[in-house]
Symmetry: C2
Subunit: 215 residues, 2 copies
Amino acid sequence: MKSEKKLPSAVIKRMPRYYRYLTTLQQMGISRISSRDLGNRMGITASQVRHDFFCFGASGLQGYGYDVALLRQEIRDIFSLDDMFTVIIIGAGNLGHALAKYTGFEKNGYRVIAIFDIKPELIGEKINDVEVIHLDKLPEYAKENHVDIAALTVPEIRVLEVAKLVTDNGIKALWNFSPIEMITNEDVVVENIQMIDSLMVLGYNLRAAEADKAK
Amino acid sequence: MKSEKKLPSAVIKRMPRYYRYLTTLQQMGISRISSRDLGNRMGITASQVRHDFFCFGASGLQGYGYDVALLRQEIRDIFSLDDMFTVIIIGAGNLGHALAKYTGFEKNGYRVIAIFDIKPELIGEKINDVEVIHLDKLPEYAKENHVDIAALTVPEIRVLEVAKLVTDNGIKALWNFSPIEMITNEDVVVENIQMIDSLMVLGYNLRAAEADKAK
């Protein structure tokens, strides 16, 4: 049972946040932590922490807590972070530039290896040492290089055709920044970044806090 | 009970996605939908749909389903989308530009009213008709204009000092794009966009799909 490793998707979604906290703890030189202390820092309950870690077979010792380095490495293993995933970015606009320049990806196991666009004036530009290549060359590029993930930062009206091009060329994972939501199927896994969702939650919590204060 | 409107945060987080689907349905001219049909489109179960809508007091009619326009308006009310929230962006780099140019915010009830930076060459630039103002002028600006939300797209090393400046000037909601996670407290509500979390989930699902195929 313990090593079956089919984790519930809700637990998987919460895991990156644990990983970030464990990384910070390790950087601070903290080698072990209780579920209560970790929960306090993260704003969740100790029992949630224990539940989530139990799901992937990690249990703390009574009176000792969790071994920070060990737990962090277990998460790295679950997420294959030591593999180094290869990522291409399609769309060298502002968002594509922002992603290409973000140093946190490589540090966490994701390497941007190419950026594609169709605008002649962008081709050949280097962003963080990564070259902008014409989208026409994607089929050739995908044959010669192993690409795990394509980040789609193209305009909304082009995203479906680009998604098709990408998956037709054997890329199996889409990181979609357009407002058009795509759904994972048997051929391709998708994560949609819907900026507006988080903004709506923020607006809701703001009005709720204002209402509380007014009481 | 029904109108207490203290919704569980997990339901609140799922609501924007329903809202997007309902908007699409309305645009397609579909006026009513069953929980099963909606669940199918969204890749969730019918009982999840019924549970979530029941939480805010909306129930479908047996054999009829939900009234799309009515349900959509209820979500608009819950999220105060007809209020029009005002948003400022701090940091006119690539990500700040991308946010300022994104047309989906205004359409959904969030208006970007100003962008702040400290680089002299950016001051006075207009992005989508919104002016870049020097950060030194933020206190004055916040006195003269009602600001609901500040989006923080500044470099990681500056984000805490900028967050302090913003909240010291009476802004109560932070939309934080830096990797440094901030936590909601009694004075300020925060939403953190952690790009890396979604990328980790995508990588996990990719490797899981590959392992399934290899079986």
